[in-house]
Amino acid sequence: MPPAQPVSSDSIRRLIVDLLPDTARTGDNPVIFGAGGALDSLGLVNFLADLEYRLSEVYGRDLVLASERAMSRSRSPFRDVDTLTAYILELLGE
């Protein structure tokens, strides 16, 4: 595994946005999934798989994003870029 890079909210946010479709990269906080979101169910599956591998490459951590914790939240961490960034920061902080 390559050396891990320092974790920051900005760098996580960049990783997320880079993996979104071009058409979804609009506004301050693009909606990822759910009403008005950029991705359908299969799109979310592909996106999260890509993101897990990118997080492994950049931070050297093998995260599983669709965890029990994510699924049990009343507000999905996959809703938009802000919520997903905060959720990943939380996971990487453990």
Partner: protein, 235 residues
């Protein structure tokens, strides 16, 4: 000359899993195997991971390490399994949990993680392992048969969920093959079991390899969600 494949096989320390690993290594492929015990195979193209297949963190770490090393997983063979021949009323809850953990939960975890890599690569083959004990409703194997019924159902649903991704998911159901898994089955019981097959003999690793290679063939891209039993047993 065909390109070497990266094949992940669970349960490679012995039995069918070891036979599968030897087959793919002989074919020039790279095999990444795992078991609870240290490697029993030594080959330049064989990489072993020691883990418990129902341990989520260990499975995630193994699959991602395989992708880091080789860039992809062409095929996943979920062979690892355990059996406990016993009357359902005499089966301890802990044994039932262990059977479900290894046979179903382990299969699920490897499918989930390998499929992520395969979806990213826009293709791949998953072959899960079931048993003729499930369609034959074999007495004395209630928990084993039930765990494999779960594997079959999971295989068929996952095949649909991945239908648009280029990843196929199928299952092979071997008859008894002379391995450690069946060494304690009484001869009379084994005879009765073989008597329920259309072709009444024990299976071989080569019989299983044949089906697995069919599912892995590039020509089988239109074959998914299928459960194929050996020996002429029907579901």
């Amino acid at each position: 000359m065909k390109a070497a494949r990266v094949v992940l096989i669970t349960g490679t320390s012995r039995g069918i899993g070891r036979g599968l690993a030897e087959h793919f290594l002989d074919a020039g492929d790279t095999v990444c195997g795992c078991s609870r015990s240290p490697a029993s195979l030594a080959h330049p193209c064989y990489e072993h991971f020691e883990l418990e297949i129902a341990d989520e963190k260990a499975v995630v770490a193994m699959v991602r390490e395989v992708v880091r090393r080789h860039g992809r997983i062409d095929a996943l063979l979920n062979n690892a399994g355990i059996a406990a021949m016993n009357h359902a009323l005499l089966t301890p809850a802990s044994v039932a949990q262990q059977i479900m953990a290894t046979n179903f939960h382990g299969t699920f975890l490897f499918c989930r993680e390998a499929a992520k890599a395969m979806v990213r690569a826009k293709g791949g083959r998953i072959v899960n392992f079931t048993t003729v004990a499930t369609p034959l409703r074999l007495e004395g194997e209630a928990l084993y048969a039930a765990s494999k019924a779960a594997v079959e159902s999971f295989t068929q649903v996952l095949a649909r969920e991945l239908g648009a991704t280029g990843v196929t998911v199928n299952a092979v159901g071997p008859t008894p093959v002379p391995t450690d898994l069946i060494k304690n089955v009484p001869a009379a019981k084994m005879e009765a079991l073989l008597g329920r097959q259309a072709i009444r003999r024990l299976g071989t690793v080569a019989d299983v390899v044949n089906v697995v290679e069919f599912f892995l063939s590039p020509c089988s891209e239109f074959v998914t969600g299928q459960v194929l039993y050996l020996g002429g047993v029907n579901g």
